[in-house]
Symmetry: C2
Subunit: 213 residues, 2 copies
């Protein structure tokens, strides 16, 4: 069966977004620094339609992390807007403009029903009946490929706590955020992990684990 | 000038001891698992007077981490007993028996005055006037060598927050503790770090940072 995978950038003190997330600072105060290693990469810049960039071992890590993914599940916080709540008459289309970079089915966990939204090659399906339903739909859409849990922390923590994640990779940035959205909150000691690899790269350490079932 | 160094084992969710630390479980529930990588090592076993053990890259990391240290500072929690409080008439001698493994001057931060205690090659000096005083005394005792901040989390966090640490190495165990003594609590985003290295080893990842001043 296809795998359920997580990879996410985190501060050394365990936050995947800084404090006070807002429409202006979707990643919270200081949160942009989490992705400095990533946005400098040639492979990330190519995917975003930009030239240049660095070539180092993080390119391969990022390539591995994004390869063979057939569908993504994200929380309402990642889709936005920061205010959340009901969609209203002129509903939010996501942070990514007319051509979102996902190019695969995306399932958005929300408390508010909404028809699917297609923007260029990406269709967002809004799921109101919980994480297991979203995973079932994402698996179906992904076919033989894997399902990526794209965040935020609360969604990842829910899937980890439910024992539904197979692989977890942390991109540990050498920063402290001091508060914000904390990975592993509420997950607890029953989740058993096996270290698969640890990779040193410029401005980041990549730590990859398998969940032992 | 000599450096102030920290190295400590931490869970992937950022705890250096589990919940409910007690006299029976000084490292809290599940906390012993933090050191599985360490107690398996040949170099650690030699230091503890035992034969055998594994030889892998963690031996070198442990060797680096313990080399050139001239004095240690620890908190009352690390010295014990778990109940803390006044020393009483038959004062606690530490967790380590008649021959503690430190073999260098140790400065214990406490709220309760006490005369120095010498056990074989280790002298414990009890410091009641704060972290800066303890560091001054430890630097004096260490001479040209470095000062090691030996924990627990609260003491390390105080030295980090005060900008008094030069190097920080985390031995990240592939476990979650779900609660306990959390590293970096209250340290906040003003501490600037530079990644020095990340090393993959059996059952642990070693992440080393320099504090940028």
């Amino acid at each position: 069966m296809s795998k359920v995978r997580v990879h996410i950038s985190t501060s050394l003190d365990g936050y995947v977004a800084g404090p006070n997330q807002s429409q202006e600072e979707p990643l919270g105060e200081g949160g942009e620094s989490l992705h400095e290693w990533l946005v400098a990469l040639k492979s990330w810049r190519e995917q975003a339609g930009m030239n240049g960039g660095e070539e180092n071992v993080s390119n391969d890590v990022f390539g591995d992390a994004t390869a063979n993914v057939g569908a993504e599940i994200m929380g309402r916080g990642k889709f936005g807007p920061a205010t959340r709540g009901p969609w209203g008459d002129d509903p939010w289309q996501g942070w990514w403009g007319d051509d979102p970079p996902f190019r695969k089915p995306v399932f958005v966990l929300t408390h508010h029903e909404r028809e699917p939204l297609t923007l260029t090659d990406t269709t967002f399906t809004f799921v109101t009946d919980g994480i297991e339903s979203a995973l079932e739909q994402a698996r179906e859409a992904a076919g033989d490929k894997d399902v990526f849990i794209g965040g935020g922390a609360d969604v990842i923590n829910q899937y980890l706590a439910a024992g539904l994640v197979d692989e977890l990779e942390l991109h540990v940035a050498p920063i402290l955020l001091g508060g914000g959205a904390r990975l592993f909150e509420g997950v607890g000691p029953n989740l058993k992990l096996e270290e698969l690899r640890a990779i040193e790269a410029p401005g980041v350490a990549h730590l990859k684990y398998r969940v032992v079932k």
